[in-house]
Point group: C2
Chain length 201, copies 2
DNA sequence: GCGGAAGCGGAATTCGACTTCCACTTCAAA
DNA sequence: TTTGAAGTGGAAGTCGAATTCCGCTTCCGC
């Protein structure tokens, strides 16, 4: 995650005729505000779901709506940015899991960890299930990692053969919905790990 | 489910001084329209989720929005009515399950059947998870049946001891969310039944 | 068949969000 | 310190969807 993110609208700039010069970095206070907006948005969405109003987010961040719109041209753009960050985080977690020696253990850890993270951002995650489903595709990077994790677990007999990546995605969506209702993520994670394994005779 | 349902706004009526006379029954065509609206609404919500517009529902039912609002004072009221019907249906299904001799089998059947019904009304069910969570409480009758079903299954060793009715509710919410993404209800139901059982050693 | 209450359609209204706009303020390069 | 580009706040504008309103139509008891 880049700390010095740029505003969403790339301003073609050319101070002094330098061919394709890199855009001047954001002004210090502006960058600070952008960060505050992002934090406020995450918190607000986590608390109240997607129905929070832009003005609430702005107030929470201590800025005017204008500032908010300077950084994100649209409410959806803001949501997408948050979704993007969540995805990036998922990739990191998946990588950690992939570095574990035992595939079954790695898979279980990934599921538990995801459930735990969801519990911390319940509203937020649930919103993703709702809103971003169509808008912002799961990045290839994450699909790839998930595929690996799943494949390895499958080979190790920890996951039924008939569960595809998109099934798994759907399942995680269900998980977030369940967690949004009760925060018993440990129970749910356990159930998932057990249920994903072929039923024992 | 009463076929001759009354409009949501009870009109205090008193034709001829009959003490507490029952309200005159709906006019024939009106009752027919009410039914059509309800059907159209169910179909529309199932297809497109909660974001369908009142006018779309009205057009689908072949009536004007006015008629729609005559029967349901609010969009939420319409949603609640549908939710109510779904709940009633659940009670019936639960009763069928309770009449089965083997508790484990009964529980599994109930879960599978619910998943199947959800798949048929994906958008609708998902919407319930979203909207009705707060507005329209699960009726006591359904809570009671669910509790029975769960208790019997628990005694028979088919369900882990640490799953409460509200946990189970949350889980079904998750199930509907997952099904709304992919219609693989059989897989999901299987996973649930397996996962709800204490992990075998 | 008549009368009038009940019901109907759908244009017009209301309402509440998102988004735009611009006069004003703040930053930072020279 | 000066200067002007970048950034800011928040009132006003826009827009889409829910809801109301009312003149017209349809039923139904007499």
């Amino acid at each position: 995650m880049t700390t010095t993110a740029q505003p969403s609208q790339p301003a073609a700039r050319s101070l002094r005729p330098v061919l394709a010069g890199a855009p001047r970095p954001m002004r210090g206070d502006a960058a600070r505000n952008r960060a505050r907006v992002l934090d406020a948005a995450r918190a607000a969405f986590a608390e109240d779901g997607a129905e929070v109003q832009m003005e609430q987010i702005a107030r929470r961040a201590g800025v005017g709506v204008g500032t908010l719109y300077r950084n994100f041209p649209t409410k959806q753009a803001l949501i997408n940015e948050l979704a993007q960050r969540w995805m990036d985080e998922r990739v990191e977690i998946a990588d950690q899991a992939l570095s574990m020696p035992d595939p079954a253990e790695a898979f279980g850890w990934f599921v538990r960890r995801t459930a735990e993270d969801m519990a911390g951002d319940a509203g937020l995650c649930h919103m993703f299930g709702e809103h971003s489903a169509g808008n912002c595709e799961m990045p290839d990077l994450l699909v790839e990692r998930t595929e690996m994790l799943l494949a390895r677990a499958r080979e190790a007999g920890a996951v039924r053969a008939d569960v595809s990546v998109s099934d798994f995605q759907a399942i995680l969506g269900g998980l977030s919905a369940a967690i949004a209702q009760t925060e018993k993520w440990e129970l749910f994670a356990e159930m998932l790990v057990t249920g994903l394994r072929a039923p024992c005779p």
